[in-house]
């Protein structure tokens, strides 16, 4: 075996320029595979983290009657309301695997603002959120002016109103010549499920700038759940604000009780000014974050098999296109690497054939001196493996250095790329074993494939050729 290695190494060194050309291709291919795969895997990981942490949680619960998948990123028809929200909430609260959950809704409305005694109507796409819950679960925006429903002003209860993104306000300015300022009173117009148009007076409480996936999230704004419920008639009266007599009547379970207990006097005590409204429902989605991401399928299965009349969508289904960007990138890298190695395979094959033709007498001599076909086969295979292995290891080392150098601080990406790929910011590289093992396996495969035909040619050389 030592003689084969000696012959292989010296032959490579003797044919430096030709071998160097192959080596450089192997080096680049390995680098592309290792660094590219690490890049794609890191992007997939960062994108998953960003989406789960800031938009969807590990999964989203939505109504079983929905024909569409829920998506915090794309706005089509608003999803149906989750009818038994309290039961779902209770179930989530009872699950030890759940870290935090937040119920919210997506919908459209019209903002009506007055400018020069004239009402201007502008479109408004929004998340209706419970401000404190949402803020606790997702930190996906920076406030430019105003506040996030007054939460950063140490209010006991969140402020009602709407928030719009900075970019949205810019668009209002550009397309409608309307710039809304924090504190400004405006009217929201919404089409209720019953088909009527509701109008609710509210005000702009803040302007924010999205931190992640700006290019999409720029279009999305916020309203609080109470305003939303009023706008779409998802409201009721809180029991705390009702007189005790009426609470007793309404808590009865039989019609007889209700009509026998309730008298006109009972209803006469009703003071409408003391009543407080509450959002009854209107929630279309609940984002659920788990303590351990690996529990996702187990928890989802429990929900899917429950009688709660709901469905679940994992984070990647809910985020659609964005979750697939990293996968697409990975596929592109695979295709590029595949192409490079296909070319490398043919170049190696071609070079080996030329080498064999040039070394016919040498191979014939080895055969005449008693070298078996296996010896010739091992010789060429070893040559290819040593050449490819050396340059592949070079490629791996350089890739490893790059990964270590950029690992912590992350690779700075153009903002547009970063926004789509990982939601924004630098891409921290995560060292994982699979790109390295893949590279070595690919090199091994390429070496063997590229040598198969040349070996066939070489082993067919007769010892007689030594005499010619």
């Amino acid at each position: 075996m030592l003689i084969i290695i000696k012959l292989a190494v010296r032959t490579i060194l003797r044919r430096k320029s030709r071998m160097l050309a192959i080596g450089i291709l192997v080096f680049l291919g390995t680098m592309l595979l290792v660094f590219g795969q690490t890049f794609a895997l890191s992007a997939a990981k960062a994108s998953k983290q960003s989406i789960i942490d800031n938009f969807t949680g590990d999964f989203i619960i939505y109504s079983a009657s929905s024909q569409e998948k829920p998506s915090p990123f794309s706005f089509t028809t608003p999803l149906p309301v989750i009818q038994n929200i309290d039961q779902v909430r209770q179930t989530l609260q009872d699950m030890p695997e759940v870290d935090v959950f937040v119920a919210y809704a997506q919908n459209y409305a019209i903002i009506s603002v007055k400018r020069a005694e004239k009402a201007i109507e502008i479109p408004f796409i929004f998340y209706a959120v419970e401000p404190d819950n949402y803020n606790r679960a997702f930190k996906n925006s920076n406030i430019s002016s105003g506040s996030f429903f007054g939460l950063d002003e140490t209010r006991a209860t969140p402020q009602q109103g709407i928030l719009i993104s900075l970019a949205q306000n810019e668009r209002y300015k550009n397309f409608y010549d309307v710039e809304i300022t924090v504190g400004e009173e405006l009217t929201l117009l919404g089409l209720t499920p019953g088909g009527s148009i509701n109008a609710v007076k509210t005000r702009l409480v803040g302007i924010f700038e999205p931190i992640y996936y700006k290019n999409v999230f720029d279009y999305i704004n916020f309203t609080d759940m109470t305003t939303y419920s009023e706008l779409y008639n998802f409201t009721g009266v809180t029991t705390d604000s009702l007189p005790d007599e009426l609470n007793t009547i309404f808590s009865s379970t039989s019609e007889d009780d209700i009509f026998s207990l309730g008298t006109e006097e009972d209803f006469a005590v009703l003071d409408f000014s003391q009543l407080e409204s509450q959002a009854l429902s209107g929630y279309t989605m609940i984002a659920v974050k788990l303590k351990d991401h690996s529990m996702l399928e187990q928890v989802r299965t429990r929900f899917d098999q429950s009688t709660l009349n709901i469905k679940t969508a994992p984070w990647d289904e809910a985020s659609g296109f964005f979750a697939q960007i990293a996968d697409t990138l990975q596929a592109i890298i695979y295709a590029a690497v595949g192409l490079i190695f296909l070319i490398v395979t043919f170049i190696i094959m071609n070079t080996l054939i030329i080498n064999i033709v040039e070394r016919t007498a040498e191979i014939g001599t080895m055969r005449a001196l008693g070298g078996e076909k296996g010896f010739i086969r091992n010789l060429f295979l070893t040559e290819t493996l040593i050449l490819n292995g050396a340059f592949a290891i070079g490629g791996i080392i350089i890739s490893l250095l790059l990964i270590i150098i950029f690992g912590q601080s992350g690779i700075p990406l153009p903002d547009i790329v970063s926004q789509y790929l990982v939601g924004g910011g630098n891409l921290p590289l995560t060292l994982s074993l699979s790109p390295f093992t893949q590279a070595l396996l690919v090199i091994l495969l390429v070496s063997v494939l590229a040598t198969l035909y040349p070996i066939r040619v070489a082993t067919k050389i007769l010892p007689l050729k030594a005499m010619n």
Binding site: I3, A361, E362, L369, K373, L464, M467
Partner: protein, 224 residues
């Protein structure tokens, strides 16, 4: 028993569409320790006989018996092993492996044989190197040697496995006259001392003078 026995050996091959009769029924016996020259002009069949004896070609008809064994009955693996064990080759163009130095070229057949340990290989190689007078060229590559030195390496390589027969195809063809004589003298000395059978082809009459026995070939037939 003869070292080599050829019985009514014929060899023909196609050159394009023309059938060439390289050997037309050769019967020949070569004894152990012989020092035999196969002489004849180009195309007379000298190399074909050497190829058949060297187990690197098979006859169209007739039998070739080497050390008691009919070679045409052997498969590729057995032929390879037979060449490794019984035969040594000296080529007209030396055919040294260019990436190996003098020592490694001579050691190469022993490595293929895989029967000796490192120490024994070293002893064997050094003994042969001294015999051919190349002890000061051990580390030189073939490209750094003269034609005569290269052929000495080839002789040493052929001898190192202590084969039954050494076949030399026009061993002096690429050497000047003086060097050619020196190489033949060396082969003769080895034949005398080691009793190795030498069969070599030549068309040079001065070289033939060294042979103990000469077979003259013409048009694929023995003429003497």
């Amino acid at each position: 028993m003869s070292a080599i026995q050829l019985n009514a050996v014929k060899k023909s091959y196609l050159l394009g569409e023309t059938k060439v009769e390289a050997l037309r029924g050769i019967t020949l016996s070569i004894e152990k320790g012989d020092f035999l020259a196969i002489a004849g002009p180009s195309g007379s069949g000298k190399s074909t006989i050497l190829n058949l004896i060297g187990c690197i070609d098979i006859p169209t008809a007739g039998t070739v018996i080497i050390d008691g064994k009919e070679v045409e009955t052997l498969g590729d693996k057995e032929l390879t092993r037979y060449r490794r064990e019984k035969l040594g080759f000296i080529f007209q163009s030396f055919n040294l492996i260019p990436v190996l130095n003098v020592y490694e070229n001579i050691e190469f057949p022993l490595l293929l044989k895989r029967k000796l340990n490192r120490e024994d290989r070293r002893d064997r190689v050094m003994h042969i190197i001294e015999r051919v007078g190349l002890q000061d060229r051990l580390k030189n590559k073939p490209s750094e040697l003269s034609g005569g030195q290269r052929q000495r390496v080839a002789i040493a390589r052929a001898l190192v496995t202590r084969p039954l027969i050494i076949l030399a195809d026009e061993p002096t063809a690429n050497l000047d006259t003086d060097t050619g004589h020196k190489i033949l003298t060396l082969m003769q000395e080895i034949n005398d001392t080691e009793k190795t059978t030498f069969v070599f082809s030549t068309h040079d009459e001065h070289i033939m003078e060294h042979a103990r026995r000469i077979i003259n070939l013409r048009d694929g037939m023995i003429v003497n």
